[in-house]
Symmetry: C2
Subunit: 221 residues, 2 copies
Amino acid sequence: MAVSIDDLCGEYVREHRADIRIKKEAVAVRNVRAIVSAALKLSCRKGFDAMSLRDLSRESGLSMGALYSYFSSKEELLVLIQSLGRKAVERILRSHIEGESEPRARLRVAVRTHLYLSELLKDWFYFFFMEARRLEDRFRSAAMQSELLTEGIIIDILDEGIRAGVFHELNSALAGSVIKAMMQDWYLKRWKYARRRISVDEYADFVISVVEAFAMEPAMV
Amino acid sequence: MAVSIDDLCGEYVREHRADIRIKKEAVAVRNVRAIVSAALKLSCRKGFDAMSLRDLSRESGLSMGALYSYFSSKEELLVLIQSLGRKAVERILRSHIEGESEPRARLRVAVRTHLYLSELLKDWFYFFFMEARRLEDRFRSAAMQSELLTEGIIIDILDEGIRAGVFHELNSALAGSVIKAMMQDWYLKRWKYARRRISVDEYADFVISVVEAFAMEPAMV
DNA sequence: GTCTATAGTGCGATAGAC
DNA sequence: GTCTATCGCACTATAGAC
């Protein structure tokens, strides 16, 4: 699963060559990386609003003026980080789940992949959640669609499993919601799980066991 | 369960008579109510940072100057809302659970009471979660303690039930975490459940069914 | 491309009239 | 008690030197 801040920033620069004033790709990627990395770090501490561009300038090592070569307003920077990361996450999540066909295995892979991905990109996921309401309407609805999309993947798997008789009759919409809630807790309460020395694998195993206890026919557990 | 914004604000005024410059209690309660109510409304839309005191002045109907008769800085207003609401919530939650003694009933009451309370005080709960990281260290650690306290209530009930043989052997700390996560989803994703016309009762029943499927011995489900 | 310096804005907070 | 008026400051954003 080759995905990191570097990869995502490289992808962004190549897709937005026209909007960025910097000609050398290597320079652009390096600086975008520094900016996004610094912005995530500072925002996750105190929030995007509380982060001033002076803070961002200091943390990223670029001057105020240089920052504006990469985005044209603070709002645009917010949208950049949100949409860039989200698109990448959706793509990766989908590609991993497609490998499995049997519902029970698909459900396990979906939960585990989501947790691994959110572990790898903790700051991004936290940022998506906490800063989504600061977006303008058109971008916020994209964020809501994204919440529903991830959940929809889970719901589809559950419905498939019910039809196949692997899972018993259950409210798949509500089940999808609470499964998503459990997965989100991993990156929303990092401090708690870190303090208790719970690994992402332990957490994944536990969530899967809860989900299966509820969804599986007793005879198959 | 007599608890509302009015009750909490009245309680605050009586406890902080010394700090508030207004002499008439009736006036003070009315204005504190207007301020807190407006602050919650505005903060839950765009965040506490994004809410200016001019916005708050407009929404509450008090002038900038008048606002400063009730708090001495924006930071103090944040702490006021956080600590006031949180203390009240903890007290109410504890008092309701004490009524039950049998582990299974206690668990059901704990989940249901928490959900009802978060329904009644949606804005407060949302505010606690989203604005906690803006607090100074000493206040933020109080917020973290509160997260652990609510979760601790659940964990204690689970441990009791395991000892009594009502629940099977399970990792009660992890179970407490994910139960808390499911309960929190109710007020963190209000837009989603409202859109789907899910009532708090439906949600409570569902969460309880998930928890019991996992925690109960198969024979007792 | 990146810098420094600064323009222009809106903020939190306060003083003083009523 | 509450208001209006205003202060000083920190912010976003930009202009112009290098």
